[in-house]
């Protein structure tokens, strides 16, 4: 069974047609539990997200700030396995029909087996992968497997990426381009700086792929700001915080997640 790269493309195209940015939500699988995570991601999509990224919790998340590290720790202590992440993708997609991506460090994919991971993710209805520590130079084996199984390969670009390198990365990527708004790890920030827009502009000069901005966006106001210049807005840590602050009260956490998705969905529609 082929993966859902085309579904991802059409959802992004639809947002463009509606003259708005797409809203992409992130949560790690297995947080607070595997089933709780599935419910939370379903709420995110029902509440207004267009696309969801399922994080594969990792023991050594070098690109994540304290909020996602905490969520990953909870998931790992709960015994999350890679097969549970695949199940999360399957059930969230089945419940919502939305494009579901997996965001993971490379070692778990390497350990699972590149071909097997791509096949299982596609079979579960996944739309693709974001692999933040797999640079384009090391990505050929994955890209072959992804293309064969109908999965998108979303590369991350950073403010430090020079123009020639941006062209090389976007030529290899599919689905969309993940533009990191700042130089830093995941986490909420007070503001989204000028360098995000500069990066989006420089990225667009190299590709027709949609460019979505992540890192630091946490509220409707920031989402609206980013929506002015990007094709999509990616929010992760702010969703994780809603579940963390609910402190075990899963229903309160889910209500918070759904409410945040709704606020952000309004934000991405405020294009002037």
């Amino acid at each position: 069974m082929a993966g859902n790269v085309e579904l991802l493309n059409s959802v992004l195209a639809q947002a463009r047609t509606e003259n708005r940015a797409a809203l992409v939500g992130y949560l790690p699988a297995g947080f607070p539990t595997v089933d709780g995570g599935i419910r939370a991601m379903t709420e995110m999509l029902d509440g207004g997200c267009d696309i969801v990224e399922v994080g594969l919790p990792h023991s050594d998340p070098v690109l994540d700030g304290p909020v996602i590290q905490t969520a990953d720790d909870i998931a790992l202590r709960g015994g999350i396995k890679t097969v549970d992440v695949i199940r999360t993708v399957r059930e969230v997609h089945a419940a919502t029909g939305a494009p579901v991506l997996c965001m993971t460090y490379w070692n778990p994919v390497d350990a699972y087996g590149v071909e097997r991971f791509a096949a299982d993710l596609a079979e579960a209805g996944g739309a693709g992968c974001i692999l933040p520590d797999l640079p384009v130079e090391e990505s050929e084996v994955w890209r072959k497997a992804a293309a064969q199984h109908g999965l998108a390969t979303v590369f991350v670009v950073a403010p430090s990426s020079r123009d020639a390198r941006l062209a090389k990365i976007t030529a290899a990527g599919t689905g969309f381009v993940y533009a990191a708004s700042l130089m830093g790890v995941t986490g909420t920030r007070e503001s989204v700086g000028r360098e995000a827009q500069d990066l989006v502009d420089r990225t667009r000069a190299t590709t027709t792929l949609p460019v979505c901005v992540g890192l630091g966006v946490s509220n409707a106001e920031q989402a609206a700001e980013v929506a002015q210049f990007a094709d999509g807005v990616i929010v992760g840590s702010a969703f994780v915080k809603r579940l963390l602050t609910a402190d075990g009260d899963i229903d309160a956490g889910l209500t918070g997640v759904r409410a945040l998705a709704g606020e952000l969905a309004e934000g991405v529609r405020k294009r002037t």
Binding site: G65, N107, V109, D133, E138, S160
Partner: protein
């Protein structure tokens, strides 16, 4: 190149241009760091071609570090090694007390050449942190050292040394709170502050070019030792031994002997409480290929690719990864790797102290324990070269608790050092 002490690999055969030693190495890093890592690689290539760089580094290695380091024969210790002759390469006599200064001075010069004003580093036992803090004091660079919280306790003396030298020391409280977590946190800092910051990586792991770059700065160990032992013993050793955590002192020793087929290269890994207990950090003995901290090598991990928490009494070896060139040397069979338990290492530490008046670091004691075993295998005709990578001053609290050397254990417990779990005499 007329440099006497800065000796980049003349073979130039490994790694490949993309940083691979056979199937191991590479560059698995976030896009945000690609430009910085490429800058380090480019600056290093320029530095290698610049006689002024070699001249400045040579001057520092001679007049600041104290190179060449001595080669000491240890006959009373060797009586316990089957009567084989044993020579120690005395990297413990370098300024700051270990081999780490060789690499640090080289990278500090690179930092200046790149125009960066801030240095960050990880440290396990604190030796790399102390060496880095030292070089930053010498060159007027801002310095932040990441150290696992467990290690800040068992190596409290080195924390004080780093702070005395003007460095900021940050105790890392995530994960196993040891070396691996210190590296994670240093990477997070680097991503956020890369414009003005160099990550002065302390071992032969990490993304390309660090495995080759750090190795090159340590090659002097083996080149000197090879020349010294030929002069003193009239022949090459039967085996060269070193401890391996990330693998920097071992690669520094081994590299000069790669072409000497008669010289066995033996890396001594931290066996902790014993391989069978699962509480160890013997990555090449028990690990499987995977990616950690930017390169493909052997890794201690579960079937899902989650890194497992290592254990060793030695903070400097307590690491679930290993430099990719060691993985390559293991798979090609050129080097062999053995696990040495905490207890074997601690017995060797005391033995060298009491037979030769040299207190080694617990890290280096793993290599000494390996030499005792190798000597017994070789017998009286054997000739062994051991890298004494560091001195044991920093380990006196751990050793005192292990052997019960304090008069009043309660009174001596001033810094909350972790309790040893081994017994002195098993």
């Amino acid at each position: 190149m007329s440099s006497e002490f800065f000796l980049p690999d003349p073979e130039g055969q490994v790694p490949s241009p993309s940083g691979y030693f056979g199937a191991f190495g590479g560059k698995f890093i976030p896009e945000a760091l690609v430009a910085a890592v490429d800058e380090v690689a480019a600056e290093y290539e320029k530095a290698k071609a610049d006689p002024a760089f070699a001249a400045e580094l040579d001057d520092l290695l001679v007049n600041y570090t104290g190179r060449p380091s001595a080669l000491t024969e240890v006959p009373r210790f060797a009586e316990h090694a089957g009567g084989a002759r044993v020579f120690l390469k005395r990297e413990d006599l370098n300024h700051t007390g270990s081999h780490k200064i060789n690499n640090v001075l080289g990278q500090a010069l690179l930092t200046k050449r790149m125009g960066k004003t801030r240095v960050i580093a990880e440290t396990g036992a604190g030796q790399h942190g102390v060496a880095t803090a030292t070089a930053c004091a010498l060159f007027g660079l801002e310095c932040t050292i990441y150290m696992g919280e467990v290690d800040t306790k068992r190596q409290a003396l080195n924390v004080a040394r780093m702070r005395m030298l003007g460095a900021e020391v940050i105790a890392v409280k995530s994960g196993s709170r040891t070396l691996k977590d210190a590296i994670n946190e240093a990477f997070r800092d680097w991503v956020a502050n890369v414009d003005r910051t160099h990550y002065l990586f302390g071992t032969v792991a990490g993304p390309h070019p660090f495995p080759a770059l750090v190795r090159d700065f340590h090659r002097v160990i083996g080149v000197e030792a090879r020349r010294q032992i030929l002069q003193r013993a009239g022949r090459l050793p039967d085996a060269a031994l070193a401890c391996v955590g990330g693998g920097s002192n071992a690669i520094g020793l081994f590299h000069a002997f790669l072409g000497d087929e008669g010289v066995r290269l033996i890396g001594c890994e931290p066996g902790g409480h014993g391989i069978e207990t699962g509480e160890h950090a013997a990555t090449l003995t028990e690990g499987t290929p995977g990616i950690l901290h930017g390169s493909r090598s052997y890794v201690l991990q579960d079937e899902d690719g989650q890194i497992t928490e290592p254990y060793s009494i030695s903070a400097g070896l307590d690491y679930p990864g290993i430099g990719p060139e060691h993985a390559y040397l293991k798979d090609t069979g050129r080097a062999e790797y053995r696990a040495v338990t905490d207890d074997e290492a601690m017995r060797a530490l005391r033995l060298l102290s009491q037979t030769e008046g040299i207190i080694p670091a617990i890290e280096s004691a793993h290599a000494l324990a390996g030499a005792l075993e190798a000597g017994r295998e070789l017998g009286p005709d054997g000739l062994l070269l051991v890298n004494l990578s560091g001195r044991g001053d920093k380990d006196m609290d751990t050793a005192a608790r292990y052997f019960g050397l304090y008069d009043d254990k309660g009174e001596a417990d001033v810094n909350g050092a972790v309790q040893p779990t081994g017994e002195g005499e098993k």
